[in-house]
């Protein structure tokens, strides 16, 4: 049943028109990457990729995660179709797990288009470069972590999309560049550790800020894997508990 829920949700999340929209985003981001690479001080392709990928691709991933996370439950509640899911003989925990995994998969797949677009547009990098493979691995885990977190936010508050976007583009961007222990409170810190981008201190501070590279990585790969893995499992568990425990009925339908 989880399998059917997963595939049907994934088909819904990746409807052709939606994929087309994300393809356009990938092309635009790829063109932007090309423009930036042609105007960067350092000409080394991997140095350029190491700056451009976290600046652009990771932001697309966060945006996709926020959007797809809202499809998991809150959109079903808004459209009132949630009643069809909740009155079928399926444990609620399975519903949320399958749909969150589908949402993470959709996030990863649309981000992958951007990864490839960026890698193709930067001279001498290409989609099969080891740096790109590192990115793909990091983005797969990031998709799970972000969609898990964002979906949980949609379960507990209204207007979750705004909160999620503020978190992704505010907190995550700022904290990863902070000194002190706040750095460890950002998912981005662990993801960027695993991405292992080539960092170039020669770039201006503003450029490095958007890439989350002001201070450079301070976490080992092993720690990043453990923390992200634990976070993903904890979030999935929390989602399953919360969705099973509480009611999810369209608000205006409550008499």
């Amino acid at each position: 049943m989880v399998g059917y829920l997963y595939t049907s949700a994934l088909k819904d999340f990746l409807r052709p028109m939606r994929v087309l929209g994300w393809l356009v985003v990938a092309v635009v981001v790829g063109l932007l990457a090309m423009f930036l690479s042609q105007n960067m001080a350092l000409r080394a392709p991997l140095a350029q990729y190491g700056q451009i990928s976290p600046t652009l691709t990771y932001k697309v991933m966060a945006l996709a995660a926020a959007i797809f996370a809202s499809n998991v439950v809150s959109q079903e509640v808004e459209q009132k179709t949630i009643v069809y899911l909740l009155t079928r003989p399926i444990p609620r925990a399975h519903i949320i797990l399958a749909r969150t995994l589908a949402s993470a998969t959709a996030t990863f797949l649309v981000t992958l288009m951007t990864v490839f677009a960026v890698s193709i547009m930067i001279r001498d990098v290409g989609p099969f470069n080891a740096a790109v493979m590192h990115d793909i691995k990091a983005l797969a885990l990031a998709s799970l972590a972000y969609t898990g977190l964002f979906t949980f936010v949609t379960l507990i508050i209204n207007k979750a999309m705004i909160v999620n976007l503020m978190f992704a583009f505010g907190w995550e961007l700022a904290v990863v560049n902070m000194t002190g222990s706040a750095y460890y409170l950002s998912i981005n810190s662990y993801v960027l550790t695993l991405a292992n981008h080539v960092e170039s201190p020669e770039y201006k501070a503003a450029t490095r800020f958007f890439a989350g590279q002001i201070l450079g990585p301070r976490i080992s790969d092993a720690t990043a894997y453990v923390v992200l893995g634990t976070l993903i499992l904890a979030l999935m568990g929390l989602l399953m508990y919360w969705f099973s425990k509480f009611e999810f009925v369209p608000r205006e339908d409550t008499e």
Binding site: T81, V83, Y84, T87, R88, R92, S244, V249, D253, E255
Partner: protein, 305 residues
Amino acid sequence: MIEFENASRWYGEVIGLNDITCSIPTGITALLGQNGAGKSTMIRLVTGQLKPTTGRVLVRGEIPFGTPDLYRHLGYCPEIDNFYERMTGRQFVRHMGRLAGFTATETKRLADESIEIVGMSDRCDKPILGYSKGMRQRIKLAQAMIHDPDIILLDEPLNGLDPVGRREFMDLLGKLAARGKTIVVSSHILFEVEQLTRSILLLHRGRLLATGDLGAIRDLIDKHPHRITIQTPQTREVASHLVTLPFVLNVSLPEHDQTVEVQTREPDQFYSFLPTLTLEHGLSIQSFESPDNNLESIFQYLVEA
């Protein structure tokens, strides 16, 4: 089959259902009440979408919230008119079948049968987006029946159906009830319910006002003065005849209006007498109606009682 034991449900500071104790047996039972009476809340408690704030709701002896296995026995046709609009009716019903745990092959057969029963076979391969209200109601019923549940809960199912559709729908519910199903139908329209079943639960502002046979409730209502308005150009002549009748309590003639207003405790006798005015006394009666035959009046009577 379905038990409410002192069940109440609050929405913040608003009470949706107030201390309901009742039992719903097999056959058709109607939940009758105006908008906001608590009908949908009651159905949502039975389908496990909501939990009672206090008290208990049991379906086949189990608490429905968080008991997915129980949902194999429940078919739910919600009041909402929302679907996955891009799907065709057939795809939607099949999707619901898959979610009920059937294989793709089983679902295909069951969906086709279910769609056939609701009379949508020739129209269900277009996107739901373009469906009329009646078609949507039929598809909702088809998805509720695909897994052949023992208990079918229908929230305002007759909304939007044309007269023929209503008749077919009622006949279908009758057949399902004859097969031993428990069918709960909510409605705010009295005459609809009267054609469907005699067994009702009358809800008003979250309270269960009356239960049992609709006839008994009507008898209770008939103990109160019943108002009847007669349209006639001969108001004085009609009034002079009516005032002599022993079962008429009061006759009044509103000013500048060709109507006679009558109050009676025996509406059946009154209606039997009414043709006499025309046939024996040659008086012209253009129309008559009773404002007390609507649901609101019934509630008013019962609340006062």
